[in-house]
Subunit: 462 residues, 4 copies
């Protein structure tokens, strides 16, 4: 397999724009640019020519001549785009320009056996695979940062919040482990799609490869090998489950990114202040030194928010008519690019956010104490039950809780003020029961298990 050229140069037209810093952050943008698409299309033409030569259908030197001309910088994106409306795709003008650039006998072999959709669909797979690289790198790095937080804060107590209300103590390590776990799952799914579902499309005008005679299957296999894509059992020009799986995996990744972003935004609130983003020079305000806008988390949330609608568009476009769709296929092109770009951006922001997250464990603890131990009421009742009975224990603790809440009195004092409780529990016992660090159940075990799974996963996917 020959290495396909990949676009490392500046994106040129379609390059960094006004909103790209915020909404198209990270390495994906340049890999879904018009230039990158054009290069991918040319890579397909070059691979096809080599496959034709390998099959003995065209001379090897013609394939080389074609391959040599398949460099995006030789073509003008705007010109090709402007000529696209005549046929409905940019492939026809691209092929015409390519043949002109190749010249001579070899020009007649350009695009042989293929149809426009073959080039676009296979290019879409190349673009997707290339875009997955930085996307996965960012998802993995974000998961790694979350793993670091989980390990570092395995024992950092945090108010567990349900419906945004304090419920029971948990640990920040367990919360971060959940972020990691979601990101790992999303990465695994992206990797699985990359490994199994990104395939060459080569079918010719109607999916039969008629103009290649009995050599069609061989040519298709050679193209697949050349580009490092799977060889499909059938041409899939109007069978779009591959696109659906790419879309679904990206939608999942967006959600896996959105969850920690949302949590960080909430934890960073002025009143909560348990975390803040620490990227130097960002999100601050000289006159409002208390303020540190969680820009990265906001960017991650914004990017993730664009994904579900784009996924729906791709899923809505799966009923491709007959041997080439009259609309749904064209709908896919930019939608796929935008979906890759926005999920890539979200992941890049989240990585930035988590890699620079400052955690205030003391504040986590003091916030937990806001309710003066009330979160442990159930635990006290459970401890008291053997002595006074389950119902009486519950009633006694409830009275103490009500009094503590009403009088703004420490819960420990209120508990000690109830005779049935004082009789059976010493002040020291009450204090121990009200220690949130003692009521964390399997939090630590969960974190350990999750970190082990995380490390195992990463070893398997170097």
């Amino acid at each position: 397999m020959r290495p396909s050229s990949s676009p490392s140069e500046p994106a040129g037209p379609g390059g960094a724009g006004l909103f790209d810093g915020v909404l198209a952050r990270g390495g994906v943008r340049v890999l879904v640019s018009d230039r990158a698409w054009l290069q991918a299309m040319l890579d397909v033409e070059a691979a096809l020519a080599r496959a034709l030569a390998r099959s003995g259908l065209i001379p090897a030197e013609d394939a080389e001549a074609i391959g040599a001309a398949c460099r995006a910088e030789l073509f003008d994106v705007a010109t090709l785009g402007a000529a696209a409306p005549d046929t409905g795709t940019p492939v026809v003008p691209m092929v015409r320009s390519l043949a002109a650039a190749v010249g001579g006998r070899a020009a007649g072999h350009v695009h042989r056996g293929a149809t426009s959709q073959d080039v676009m669909d296979t290019a879409a797979m190349l673009v997707t695979r290339r875009a997955f690289d930085p996307l996965l790198e960012d998802v993995h790095a974000a998961a790694g940062a979350a793993a670091g937080l989980a390990a570092a804060h395995r024992g950092t107590v945090l108010a567990g919040r349900t419906l945004l209300q304090h419920a029971l103590p948990t640990t920040f390590g367990l919360q971060a482990a959940g972020w990691m776990s979601g990101l790992d799952s999303a990465a695994a799914r992206l990797e699985d799609v990359r490994a199994t579902r990104l395939a060459v499309q080569l079918g010719g005008a109607a999916g039969t490869l008629a103009s290649l005679g009995d050599q069609g299957l061989g040519v298709a296999r050679f193209v697949a090998e050349d580009l490092g894509l799977a060889e499909p059992v059938l041409p899939w020009h109007t069978e779009r489950t591959r696109i659906a799986e790419v879309a679904g995996a990206l939608g999942e990744a967006a959600g896996a990114v959105a969850k920690p972003a949302r949590d960080v935004i909430l934890l960073a609130q002025t009143e909560v202040a348990e975390v803040r983003e620490g990227t130097p020079g960002r999100g601050g305000s000289s006159t409002l030194p208390h303020k540190r806008n969680p820009i990265a988390a906001v960017g991650a949330a914004a990017g993730a928010g664009r994904a579900p609608g784009l996924v729906a568009t791709l899923l809505s476009s799966m009923a491709h008519e007959h041997e080439r769709a009259a609309g749904p296929w064209h709908t896919e092109w930019v939608t796929l690019s935008q979906l890759l770009s926005t999920v890539g951006s979200a992941a890049a922001w989240l990585r930035d956010c988590l890699e620079h997250l400052e955690v205030d464990a003391a504040r986590m603890r003091s916030n937990l104490d806001l309710t003066g131990g009330l979160l442990l009421a159930e635990r006290v009742a459970t401890a008291l039950a053997p002595a006074v009975g389950r119902l009486a224990a519950h009633d006694a603790v409830e009275r103490a809780a009500a009094e503590a809440a009403a009088a703004g009195r420490p819960f420990a004092d209120a508990l000690a003020g109830i005779p049935e409780i004082r009789e059976h529990l010493s002040n020291e016992e009450i204090a121990a029961l009200l220690d949130p660090a003692g009521y964390l159940g399997s939090a630590g075990a969960f974190v350990d298990r999750a970190l082990e799974a995380h490390r195992g996963r990463r070893e398997g996917h170097p």
Copy 2:
């Protein structure tokens, strides 16, 4: 009100790309480009400066100095975009660059009283209004072309198709009138949104216009007058029903475009061949002269297909937190641009399609005859009923229909072969009953009424 500058120059970065010819056709693309956004943002700053001057808060010459610098070509989009991540919006670097460009005392008055979201939101309204111009022009032109078809083919019989099966005769004029009616409704809704819901946003850092003291309302009114936007009762930085109505109207327009596009694609099928697109030099094939790809209709369908997902994204983003959203607001920016662009493209394609549509009335008639008059079976039964009773009439006609279908015999002959029918209906009467042109009910009246409404609507909206 001073005229705001509008971007007529080439779009520069973010300009015509590889897919824009197909997926960003028409006049909208350039009006939602990065350059156009930047100009709109600068228009807001200029209008704000003039409003501050008009309110006596800054000297008139400073407002003029600011206004003079508010030209997009003085700024570099990529530089501004690259600086956006520090604050999460491109406004802060834009304001900084603008102040530098203004210089002197006036520099200190740039952006006074406003917050970033004020500039972005008001610019979004300007971009929307400007993009609505070519969009509405194309929707109106498409409706006009449909009106022309409806008038010209008021009496052209066509097989009415339900679930894509021939059902009863109708007219192509009535079908085209339906296209027109949908486009007119969509245009009316877009116009209504433009007239009533595109409003200035000016609230300052938290929506109170605190730094403008008691002059806030006056300044806001002056900005609104200057830009020709509505003055809202309240700042709407986190009240997004305006965005929802823009989105909804665009989604409706996409659907109104998709319907005729779908019909044209179906009518143009090789086996149906009742219409074909007639734009010279497009969609044809030299070796397949029978083939005329309905490129314009396909382009319209493709563009429309991208809209619903984008509408959903905007609707999903309406729960803006407190005084500025942490994610949903940023999600809106490019989504709105993409929605405007794709609906504009769809409308431009449909206009092209309908303005060049070639209609084959003879083929419509011959297709109708494919079923040999069977579509009129019900009519014959109705005519026969008074003589032989409803049930017997139905049975007799049903027998004839079955025989015609089974034997591939003309329905007229089969009818005449049934004694109960021949007894009461002459061959001439049968022929008249089987004439589809005689069984069109209110089709003509509907077309007349719809055309009248269309003309009335256009008079009201010059």
Copy 3:
């Protein structure tokens, strides 16, 4: 116009289910039930019969006989549903059952001139109109509750939060006025759609009303008058902008509901505690007396969250082929019901939430003080600027802010500790500048103006 029967009885099959209390709250559910649909379909048949009689096409007593049988309780929903697959709609079995119930001569006039889609589409409009009643009642009540909060808390200072960080002071009244304004806009749009876009569909098998001869338009008008629906210029069986506008208005309403729901959830957080839901017996916990789950706001958010996807489904289904769609039409039925139901539920929950909202103005003030006046830093700098120059003023205040933040010292003290400041501002002046109530800009004026608009709107729409 005869009053159409409306379903007031229990919903029967399809009635209150396991999740309906949470996700189908309020009055809409019963009005979109299967029973309600069936009654609406029967109402159409009854109105059609009366219109045929009024047109002289059938005897008046036959219309009466038909009308008398058009009561949903005479039919079995499950039986009709089970027979629907043969023809793809429940209308055919319903018509058959209705004719059997009517009997005699009149049975032959049942459904005359209509096609299944006429009945379904007109019934959809009736269902929509009926469902809008409780929906609008709940939206108006929620807006009214928000108006009450806006008036009562016109001067209640609140930390304005951007990206969930304290930014500048605002008032809770202004925030509530924003909620009200969004709800009012959504209600106005729903009312507009109800008044102008809910129309009769009557076209017969192919949209020409062929079987009604030259009486088609008259019959359609009479049906419209009878049912209190608009008379459309054209049959709209495959022109779905009406459905799109219903969907868009519902999507907007969902967003208008989601915004205050989101704010309440955030304001009710344990650490913020500025509001809490006060519906007796809900959301509390005996052992966690500090906890009051914002169940109503959560229910509102959950219901609203289902809307955008359903709106997208309806918009995606607008390209109805030819004279009856092969799929998109069927897709609409339950999607419309579910959209009405979930938005109705969200509105009912929000009404409940806002009508029982307990506001803790003292806590709002103390939260505002968490940053010790830092939010007013800009104000102090502005006041100081005339004396020392803009730049020097900014620097001095910035130094004070940094010191206050670093040392945890009151901002007032830090300010007074800076010589340039102390020289020009007395302690009293500093204290006055740091009073948030004095830096609310146009907040009060905005609230007044919004309340006036709210009242004016309600007068127009009794």
Copy 4:
């Protein structure tokens, strides 16, 4: 592992409704009914009790007593639903009713260690797994029917249609193989999700299983074993990638169903008439014997059309806040049910459609002949090129094509009338070149390969 009861009885409230025959066809509906959800919730409680007993936390006889009461028919769905609003879920009233039904000491052990979300989430997994059974059966059967068509029509020539225009010949076997391949891919994905991603959720109030002390992990493992679900590394109450993968797989399945449904609708058109649905007693019309509505394909298309919006809703709801979401979680419940139901319905309709599809091979051939061999023009030019050169060959054939099209003359005659062609190709050679069956490229090989893959797949998944 004990067998969990599964709901085989009638669905009761929420049962077959007016639209269910069309939009909730197949076996899924009853498995996502309220009754089925309730039974799944009870299955979770029973499994939890057994796991607690197995862990030694409660007596075995108490677990048995609880298990004995966990039968849905003992509870009233409407009553539970009506009580749900107080806490926001139906679990609390269900637990209360269950405890009452159990009575005695065992009542105190009901739901021990669990929180409401544990029960709902695990029940959702059970409901999903149970619903996947009939769904997969229908998808497999549809794929099997497509395989049968592919095998039977391996050599049946068909006009390959691009943008709905005749392009090149293909075979109906290849088209059907494409349907099969898409369905197989979707089934494989559903099976993969079922095998790897349906997991128990057990975390207690904040995800730590605090009230189970150090036995939490053991109890969770026992519950997983009991229910036959995966044991997750972490509680996933706010980590929703599992839901995303279920949603994505269902969205893919919907698209895989929509494609053949769309093709069948198009192939069944009156003018095309290459296939028709053959289910007895459905879709026909006595007076329109030519008409056979493709009801099953329409039903499949309608059901599939509802999926993308619902998928988007689930993906939009992935950012669950902290330890329990305030809205997004509740949004999932009915959305998941509706998605399962509509995809199940679509698959059931498609199975019906394909299992009864009547294929008219002669009509396929005669439609192909509509263009008189023009589809083979390219093939003639290729054959001629060696003799006269590529360009001259192309020109000559183009002239013949133009003439044939213009004069309505057979293409063979037109070709023979061009001197350069006649000189090199005999009439027999021309006729052979124009035989579509001779220009099918790899169509047969593709079908063979796809069928082999299909069979291999089915062997692996019995």
